[in-house]
């Protein structure tokens, strides 16, 4: 039985439809990440599940209980907020225990759970401090501890790491992941950061404009995005796109754009509509000596361009180059790098190419690369 179920959930604010006909099932013990840009509706979905927003139509279930019309306190969920939502006038200990005291849990049980959460999160030395005497990371841990001691059916995380600096964010990301691994509590996690989504999620839901774009395991979204939005959103650095057309020539499909002609996989269907070709920066292989002819090799699996920018990140570097009117980027090892202004050749493996039709949907998808 799924732990959380959304059935045809729609949410309107006045005339604006924020979420439309949303269906989702979260498995028991799963960590599901809702990811999308601002205005995608991800936080609204989480807040509807928490009971902080009403549902315009549709039902929400936790286990087999319909919670659509229940107050937040009756849903058996615990939430971690972006700005933590700690009670500023209370010590860490009181912050952790208040929810249990409100629910009339026996004193010894409260003490046990607070000690357990504090131990797991390394909060013991901080129990008698107030939130203002804690660092951002410590506050984040207290907020998580407050959710843990409740032992709820579902954890809700609303962009919990957005207020932390990059280093701390990476560390807390690992902690949340390993914590969820041990607790096995169903978790719905909202973020705009696709790296967080990729590293944390058992499954990811990519949202745009209140609609699900794709649901899947992180690697599925990375390897077989169903549309151009998901392709561009998932993966860092972002996928390169080239606009062009498909045409058959001598029994093979070719993708043609200005200054580019590439041979497609066997079995690629013909299409008369405009096509967008996508290739991830890490899938491009680079040669520093341009081959002849200028528009790719005889095998038509290369692009030739001129380097315009090299970003050295340490182990890898980002080489930006111009192919006719198209600005592309390759992610390559830093051992040997071209200079700005040099001509280079980028190999485009046909198996790694993504094609999207005029409506943005992936076409000619092949299952073998999954």
């Amino acid at each position: 039985m799924p732990s959380v179920t959304f059935e045809h959930v729609t949410k309107r604010f006045g005339d604006a439809t924020v979420i439309e006909d949303f269906d989702l099932q979260v498995a028991d013990g799963e960590l599901l990440v809702l990811v999308g840009g601002s205005g995608s509706g991800k936080s609204t979905i989480l807040r509807m599940l928490a009971g902080l927003e009403t549902v315009t139509s549709g039902r929400i279930r936790i286990d087999d209980r319909d919670v659509t019309d229940l107050a937040p306190r009756d849903r058996d969920v615990a939430m971690v907020f972006q700005d933590y939502g700690l009670y500023p006038h209370m010590t860490v200990r009181d912050n952790l225990s208040l929810g249990l005291r409100l629910r009339k849990i026996p004193r010894h049980e409260i003490d046990r759970r607070v000690a357990w959460a504090a131990g797991m999160l390394g909060l013991e030395p901080l129990l008698d401090r107030k939130p203002k005497a804690l660092s951002g990371g410590q506050r984040q841990r207290v907020a998580m501890g407050r959710a843990m001691v409740r032992e709820p059916k579902v954890f809700l995380f609303d962009e919990p790491l957005s207020n932390l600096d990059a280093g701390l964010r990476a560390q807390m990301r690992i902690e949340i992941g390993s914590l969820q691994d041990r607790l096995k509590t169903t978790t719905v996690y909202v973020t705009h950061d696709q790296v967080e989504a990729m590293t944390l999620g058992d499954r990811i839901v990519v949202l745009a404009d209140g609609r699900i774009q794709q649901i899947g395991r992180p690697i599925e979204l990375y390897r077989t995005p169903v549309n151009r939005f998901v392709a561009g959103f998932i993966g860092t650095p972002a996928m390169n796109f080239i606009e062009g057309t498909l045409a058959a020539d001598g029994g093979r499909m070719f993708f043609s754009a200005e200054a580019a002609r590439l041979k497609m996989r066997a079995g690629t269907a013909e299409s008369s509509e405009p096509i967008t070709l996508g290739i991830r920066p890490e899938d491009l292989r680079m040669d520093f000596i341009p081959q002849q002819p200028t528009h790719g090799s005889a095998d038509f699996d290369t692009l030739t361009g001129r380097v315009v920018l090299v970003e050295r990140l340490g182990g890898t570097s980002h080489v930006h180059f111009q192919v006719g009117p198209h600005r592309l980027m390759a992610s390559v090892a830093s051992d040997s790098l071209p200079e700005v202004g040099h001509d280079i050749t980028a190999h485009v493996p046909a198996a790694r190419v993504h094609l999207f039709g005029g409506d943005g949907r992936a076409i000619g998808r092949t299952a073998e690369i999954v």
Binding site: R75, A78, M79, G85, L86, H89, G99, L102, R103
Partner: protein, 287 residues
């Protein structure tokens, strides 16, 4: 740097002059007057510690202090409760919220004498609106301002009404400062409306409450216009406040030295009471 200092002195100048003339000078003058006898007409004479000795043994002064404490014991708690309740109500999504906020603030800017005359009419034993309503629901009329037991409480209620709008604004500011995530967190954690108030709203408003207690106490010690206009200090001197006594000594009995002594004593009492309040509330916060 020198030019900056010059600009600074120029800008601070007018206010410094104002402060000097209307605060520093009168305070210094009052401190001098404590040791003088002066009827405003003849030249002042040195009185040594006479005024202080008189004050210590002056039953009327101490009964005025007691009256003022009676006033405060009703006014301050009532002010906190009404201001907080109104602020909570006005903080909700309410039809005509701006109108209600303005309406409750209006009495603050109305002249105290006008309010006192208005409420004298409301409190009037035979023709007052309040007694009219009491009779309508079958109760007997109350001589609000002429019964020694009800006169001071009646004045306290009126002063609370006049000032409530000011304290509502302080509480409203405090309410808007409580993070939304805290309110949502406590809701998810299982708190009822009362528990949310008890565990989040009320403790979050502690700084505002300290301010309301301090300001309404200082304000309350200066009770003057209301008894002056409404009761003249009666009945049986029960509404005779310290400042009314000070005023009468200065301008009815023309004892400027003694009036100044009362003023300095009042300032000391206010200082001690406010200091004690802060200590008490500070201890409550640490709990």
């Amino acid at each position: 740097m020198r030019a900056e200092q010059k600009t600074a002195s120029l800008m601070a100048g007018p206010y410094a002059a104002f402060l000097l003339v209307f605060a520093v000078y009168p305070i210094a003058f009052a401190l001098v007057l404590v040791f003088l006898q002066w009827d405003l007409v003849t030249a002042p004479t040195f009185a040594g510690a006479d005024n202080i000795r008189l004050l210590v043994h002056d039953g009327r002064f101490w009964s005025a202090v007691a009256n003022t404490f009676v006033f405060l014991s009703i006014h301050v708690p009532l002010q906190i409760i009404t201001a907080l309740a109104l602020a909570l109500a006005l903080n909700r999504q309410l039809v005509g919220r701006s109108f209600w906020r303005a309406a409750f603030f209006l009495p603050v800017v109305i002249s105290g004498a006008v309010v006192a005359i208005l409420w004298s009419n409301l409190y009037a034993t035979d023709v007052g609106l309040i007694n009219h309503l009491l009779v309508k629901i079958g109760l007997s009329p109350v001589p609000w301002l002429t019964d020694p037991r009800t006169a001071m409480p009646a004045i306290a209620v009126m002063v609370t009404w006049k000032n409530v709008g000011f304290y509502v604004i302080i509480y409203l500011a405090g309410l808007q400062y409580i993070p939304r995530s805290c309110q949502e967190a406590i809701e998810i954690e299982g708190a009822s409306a009362w528990q949310r108030f008890r565990y989040l709203t009320l403790p979050s408003l502690l700084p505002q409450t300290i301010l309301v207690v301090t300001l309404s106490t200082i304000n309350g010690f200066q009770l003057f216009i209301e008894p002056y206009v409404m009761t003249g200090g009666g009945p049986l001197r029960r509404t005779y406040s310290v400042v009314l006594y000070l005023y009468n000594n200065a301008f009815a009995y023309q004892k400027m030295g003694y009036a100044a002594t009362i003023g300095v004593a009042l300032a000391l009492i206010i200082g001690i009471v406010v200091f004690a309040q802060r200590r008490l509330i500070g201890k409550a916060e640490a709990l």
